[in-house]
Every structure is written in structure tokens, then in C-alpha cells.
């Protein structure tokens, strides 16, 4: 062993200087063929593969994404905000730019995105909810798409909330178009948009119990008879997911 190798081996372990990359695991895929409930005789039944969402990206992001990220981060700093507090991570995947924003800073962030002349995302394309039951502490995601007609750009903002405290600030003050979109997401996912002028159900009847598009809400459905055979409801059929 040379002197240099010895020196390196003796070096005390230091924490990595790079920020730890949070891996977003949203579930586990078991077996090889996705069949559930039936005997998987393939021998691959014990296979466990984590389902990992695309992780944070390294610069350069490519295209106009770097410019948008620079302007956005700069504008946040101008407002006296710590960029790392506001933007949890920036993901570039499949040619799309996503900012994961901490929910407490959402309103400030979208206001900057709309009003900053270099950003000018004047059109909000609504909010879409996604429910990841196995992502502890970040079960509910609210996904916003923002379009800039001025600059011809499109970005995505993603905000999360835990199931135990499903509150996200409403952006209706900044984007009035989200009035119905937030009501829809509340109706289907139980996400409470704080500050919304009238957060009531929009699709389901007012006295409906539960939020139908959550993953723990069953599809329902009844078996159907077809040419003499009973066809089970779609969620009861043998399936390969």
C-alpha cells in the first residue's frame, strides 16, 4: 500500500458536500407479471422493485429551461426567500420542466411566475391531483401547468401535502381560473385549498362521502352478464398491472 492510499484510508468519514438527492419512491412492484391474488408460478413472485419517480436534474437543463430557472430563482432571492426552501427540487424529464415547490411558499412563487416580466406565465391550465398512498408524508400531489403566451413556454409546478394535513394554499387570488379546478381537485382528492372563496364539491353531489379519485376509494361497479357468463367489475378482474 502506498503512502497516498494509506492517507486516504485513514481519512475520517466526512459528510458529502453535495446535497443529498431525495429519491421519491411511490411504491413497490412485486413479481414480474403484475398479476395479483393468483398464484404466480413463474418463479419471479418474490421480486420487489421500487417505483421511483424521476429524480432532480443537474444543470444545464437545456432549452429555455435554464433561463426560466435562473429568472425564477433570481426573483425568489430578490423577495428575500431562500431558493432551497422554496424549490425542493427541479426535475427535467421528457422535455418538461417541473419545479417542486414547498406548499408554504406556493402563493409567492406563482405570483412571481405570473408577474415577473421575464417569466410572465399568464395562463394557468388548472390543477391536477395525484394520490401516492405509499409515499409517507407526501401522499397528495397538486400539479399545476403554467403557460406563458408572451414567451411561448410551458412549465409544471408540483406541490405536495401529507394525507394527515391535506392543505395547500389556493392560487385563486393569482389565477382566478383555478376556482373550478381547485374545487374539482378538492372533490376528487380531498385536498383543501386554503383561501379558496367557496371550496365546495363540483362534480359529486354535495352530500357525497369520500373523495372518489383517491387510490383508497374503490372503483365500485357490478358484475355484468355477457353471453351467459358473469364478467366481474373492472377492479375485480384478474389483471396485470
Amino acid at each position: 500500500m502506498s503512502e497516498q492510499d494509506k492517507a486516504e484510508n485513514e481519512k475520517p468519514e466526512v459528510p458529502a458536500t453535495r446535497r443529498e438527492i431525495p429519491v421519491e419512491v411511490v411504491g413497490t412492484r412485486r413479481g414480474m407479471f403484475g398479476a395479483q391474488g393468483t398464484g404466480d408460478t413463474s418463479g419471479f413472485g418474490g421480486l420487489n422493485a421500487p417505483i421511483v419517480l424521476p429524480g432532480p436534474s443537474e444543470r444545464p437543463y437545456g432549452g429555455y429551461f435554464d433561463e426560466v430557472a435562473d429568472e425564477f430563482e433570481g426573483a425568489l432571492e430578490e423577495q428575500g426567500l431562500d431558493v432551497d426552501d422554496v424549490i425542493e427540487k427541479t426535475v427535467v424529464d421528457r422535455g418538461e420542466l417541473t419545479f417542486h415547490v414547498a406548499r408554504e411558499h406556493l402563493l409567492k412563487a406563482v405570483r412571481i411566475l405570473r408577474d415577473d416580466p421575464a417569466l410572465r406565465f399568464e395562463l394557468c391550465l388548472g390543477v391536477s391531483g395525484v394520490h401516492y398512498p405509499s409515499e409517507a408524508g407526501r401522499e397528495l400531489h397538486a400539479v399545476y401547468h403554467l403557460r406563458s403566451i408572451t414567451h411561448g413556454r410551458l412549465i409544471r409546478i408540483e406541490v405536495t401535502a401529507p394525507d394527515a394535513d391535506p392543505r395547500i394554499p389556493s392560487v385563486v387570488d393569482v389565477y382566478p381560473t383555478n376556482d373550478w379546478h381547485e374545487r374539482e381537485t378538492y372533490d376528487f382528492f380531498g385536498l383543501v385549498f386554503e383561501g379558496h372563496p367557496a371550496l365546495t364539491r363540483i362534480m359529486m353531489p354535495d352530500d357525497w362521502l369520500g373523495h372518489p379519485q383517491r387510490k383508497d376509494y374503490p372503483l365500485g361497479g357490478i358484475p355484468v352478464e355477457y353471453k351467459g357468463a358473469q364478467i366481474p367489475a373492472p377492479d375485480q378482474r384478474r389483471s396485470y398491472t
Binding site: F33, G95, L123, G126, W180, E184, P205, P212, Y240
Partner: protein, 442 residues
């Protein structure tokens, strides 16, 4: 009508007296209200009212003839399409989305397929011929959707001729759809990776002939409605919404273009090769229902231009991606009862090739896997920006599909357009928005 029957039409509730009116008996309501201390009435229009475009419920607070508050009640046609798609494979999704906005089925299918293809990373692999046929079908669909908008809008203000003209011309387009996809609606023709099948023999000639026919009839709408003083008196300055209002409320499509902003995703964010076609974006600067009407007329003419360019660009080639792990294995054919499996293909897999049979079985029952991630794709539908947010967990089924339907967002403008106007103008304003409840409620 005797007084006892009249009493049966009204009842006392905690919210005051409620009248049930089915048409023609407004006089009795007016008479009864005349005795009340104010003229403020809350009118529930719909959800079953012919001029509310399907099951839309309008809640109007009126003071005399003036609408002081207007609200929409929606959800009567909610069918849980987004939830249902999470229990079917990716290809089956097209069968659901085509039923959302039933007047723009091919836009729904294309938007969904573009999003799935983005997730699969095969956007660049879609054959040229498939993209051209997608554009062709979408533009024909734009015409048929606009024709229904004009027809129903005309009927609602008493112009039954406009309705007959619109539905007559729409029939020409539906005949093309039937020839190509086997069905007049609910096509499921555009599939992830390409198309269900190629154009049938004779389709190109039929489309050319139809384009000629539609173009020869285009001037009838100008003559009948666009320059008609009675028609203009009903539409001009009604349903006013300016540019800041549109952007704040997220209105897109003809509503946004009626403010003079030429925002059209086909130009600003092209997909399916729209950058290769020559067409103009129709705009108006009146911000009113008349402007939207004129834009729809002009867009139909532009769509005919694009359809002709599509026919010229059609070159022989495949209509599905080459990847056999994604491409639907069956060779479909249009039979007398709609689209179904081609008998030749069934004979081949059942009789001669066991591997093909296994492959077919796996892909049809199980489907293909889509890598983990999310994607957003948007198309300029006849009504505005139709966006799709698709999430995959790496399985053979969508983890989440969300549609940003333009009708849903555009319908939010009802309050801004109608409040302060007359009751009769509500109908015109809603017709200018052209909402389709199948898309709004999904």
C-alpha cells in the same frame, strides 16, 4: 288554468316560494310575483333545458329583466372517466376519452395519445402518414364541432334554418368519419403509437368531394347569419369578455381569439407536424358572441384548407409505430357492423403462427408497460386548449389521467359574461362559449 292547478305548481319552502315552470306559463309566475314586495327572482334554468347545451344548470338571480347574478351548476354528466381509466390498460384509454367531449372525439383521442407517446418516448417515431391522418381527422372534427356550435346557437335564438344548415353539413363530415373509423362518434380511432387502421379505399376521393361540397356551401352561413341585421342585433356586444378577463379566467379557443389575441397552439406550440401546414389564425376584436361566431366560420374555412393540404401530403406508409411491443397486433378492418378484427389476421394467428397468437394475447390482455413519470400534452381543440396530464407508475395502466377540458374552464366565464345583461342574452352568451357537458363533467 284553474287556481287549484296553479297552486300545485308552487310550494312554500324555507327559501321562499318555489314555482315549477315548464314553459308557456310564465304569466302566472309574473302575476304571483307582482304581489311580492320586490322583483328579485332566482331562476333555476336546467339541468334539463334545451338551450343550456345538455345538462347545464344555470342559477340566475334576476331583477326584472336584468341578470344580477349568474352561477353554473355542473356535474350532472359526471361519469368517472378519469377514475375508470386507472383500471384499464393504456390502449383502452382511447375508448374512454373519445366519449368525454362527444363533439370533439378525435381531439380527445389525439391529446391522450400524444401524452402517452411522450411518456413512452416515441413521439419522434410516429409515422408521417399517421400524423397527417390525425391532422386530417382533427380538422374535419373542428368543422363538425363548429357546425354544431352554430346550429344549436342559431336554434336557441330562433333561427331554425341555421340549425338545419349546420346539421346538414355536419352529416357530410360524419359520413367521412363513418367511412374511415366505422362509427359516427366514439371512434377510438387514434391509438397510442399511431392509428387503429389506415384510410379505407376511396376515402381520399370522398374527402376531396366533401371538401368541395362544404366549400360551396360556406357562403350560405355568411348570407344567412353573418350579415343578417336581426342575427347581429342578438349577438353583437353580447357576452363581452376582454383579454385580461379571458386570461384571468383561463378562457381559450374562439373566446380568447375574439379579443384579438391570435393564440392558437397549432401555431405557438405545434404538434403532429402542424408547422408544415399553411393556415391563418382567425381573430376578431369585438370580444363578443358575434366575434366568436365569425371566428368559427373563418376557422371552418381554414380547416378545409388544412384538410386539402393533408390529402396532398398523404404518402403510402405505415400508420403505427414499428415497435411490435407497443403497436396493436390486430389488423383491424371496417366490417358491416363497425370496426373489428380482420378475419385474415385471425386466420393467420390461429392457424399458422403460435408466436403471433401469444404475442397478440399478451398485448391485448396485459397491454404494454409505460415508464414511470408524468407528461402533459395539449392540442388546440375546437373549443380551446385541451390538455392531458398523464402519470405512469411503470405499469400497464395509467396511474392518473387528468383532462383540462376547454369547456370546463371556459364555462367559468358565464358569470363575467352574463351579469348585468338581460335574461335573453344569457342564452346567446352560453352558445358563444359552446360548452359540451360531456367534456365539462367527464
Amino acid at each position: 288554468m284553474s287556481s287549484t292547478q296553479y297552486e300545485a305548481g308552487s310550494r312554500e319552502t324555507t327559501e321562499g316560494r318555489v314555482f315549477t315552470v315548464t314553459g308557456g306559463d310564465w304569466g302566472e309566475v309574473a302575476e304571483a310575483v307582482a304581489g311580492a314586495d320586490d322583483e328579485r327572482i332566482i331562476v333555476n334554468m336546467g339541468p334539463q333545458h334545451p338551450s343550456t347545451h345538455g345538462v347545464l344548470r344555470l342559477i340566475l338571480e334576476i331583477d326584472g329583466e336584468t341578470v344580477t347574478e349568474a352561477r353554473c351548476g355542473i356535474g350532472y354528466l359526471h361519469t368517472g372517466i378519469e377514475k375508470n381509466m386507472e383500471f384499464r390498460n393504456w390502449v383502452q384509454g382511447t375508448t374512454f376519452v373519445t366519449r368525454m367531449d362527444y363533439l370533439t372525439p378525435l381531439f380527445n383521442e389525439t391529446a391522450y395519445c400524444l401524452a402517452v407517446e411522450k411518456l413512452l418516448g416515441i413521439t419522434a417515431d410516429i409515422p408521417e402518414r399517421a400524423s397527417v391522418i390525425r391532422v386530417l381527422m382533427m380538422e374535419l372534427n373542428r368543422i363538425s364541432s363548429h357546425l354544431v356550435a352554430l346550429a344549436t346557437g342559431g336554434m336557441e335564438i330562433g333561427s331554425t334554418t341555421l340549425m338545419i344548415y349546420g346539421l346538414r353539413d355536419r352529416e357530410v363530415i360524419l359520413d367521412i368519419f363513418e367511412l374511415v373509423t366505422g362509427l359516427r362518434m366514439n371512434h377510438a380511432y387514434i391509438r397510442p403509437g399511431g392509428l387503429a387502421q389506415d384510410l379505407p379505399p376511396g376515402a381520399v376521393d370522398k374527402i376531396r368531394e366533401s371538401v368541395r361540397l362544404l366549400r360551396s356551401r360556406a357562403h350560405e352561413y355568411d348570407k344567412l347569419a353573418a350579415d343578417n341585421p336581426v342575427f347581429k342585433a342578438r349577438l353583437v356586444d353580447v357576452g363581452f369578455l376582454d383579454l385580461p378577463g379571458c386570461l384571468a379566467l383561463g378562457a381559450t379557443g374562439p373566446i380568447l381569439r375574439s379579443t384579438g389575441l391570435p393564440h392558437d397552439l397549432r401555431k405557438t406550440d405545434p404538434y403532429c407536424g402542424y408547422e408544415n401546414y399553411e393556415f391563418d389564425v382567425a381573430t376578431a376584436d369585438s370580444c363578443d358572441s358575434y366575434g366568436r361566431f365569425v371566428i368559427r366560420l373563418e376557422e371552418m374555412k381554414q380547416s378545409l384548407r388544412i384538410v386539402e393540404q393533408c390529402l396532398d401530403r398523404l404518402k403510402p406508409g405505415p400508420v403505427m409505430v414499428g415497435d411490435k411491443k407497443i403497436a396493436w397486433p390486430a389488423q383491424l378492418a371496417v366490417g358491416p357492423d363497425g370496426m373489428g378484427n380482420s378475419l385474415d389476421h385471425i386466420r393467420k394467428i390461429m392457424g399458422t403462427s403460435m408466436e403471433a397468437l401469444i404475442h397478440h394475447f399478451k398485448l391485448v390482455t396485459e397491454g404494454f408497460k409505460v415508464p414511470v413519470g408524468q407528461a402533459y400534452a395539449a392540442v388546440e381543440s375546437a373549443k380551446g386548449e385541451l390538455g392531458v396530464h398523464v402519470v405512469s407508475d411503470g405499469g400497464t395502466r395509467p396511474y392518473r389521467v387528468h383532462f383540462r377540458d376547454p369547456s370546463f374552464t371556459n364555462l367559468q366565464t358565464v358569470a363575467a359574461m352574463c351579469e348585468g345583461g338581460q335574461v335573453a342574452d344569457v342564452i346567446v352568451a352560453v352558445a358563444g362559449i359552446d360548452p359540451v357537458m360531456g367534456g365539462v363533467d367527464r
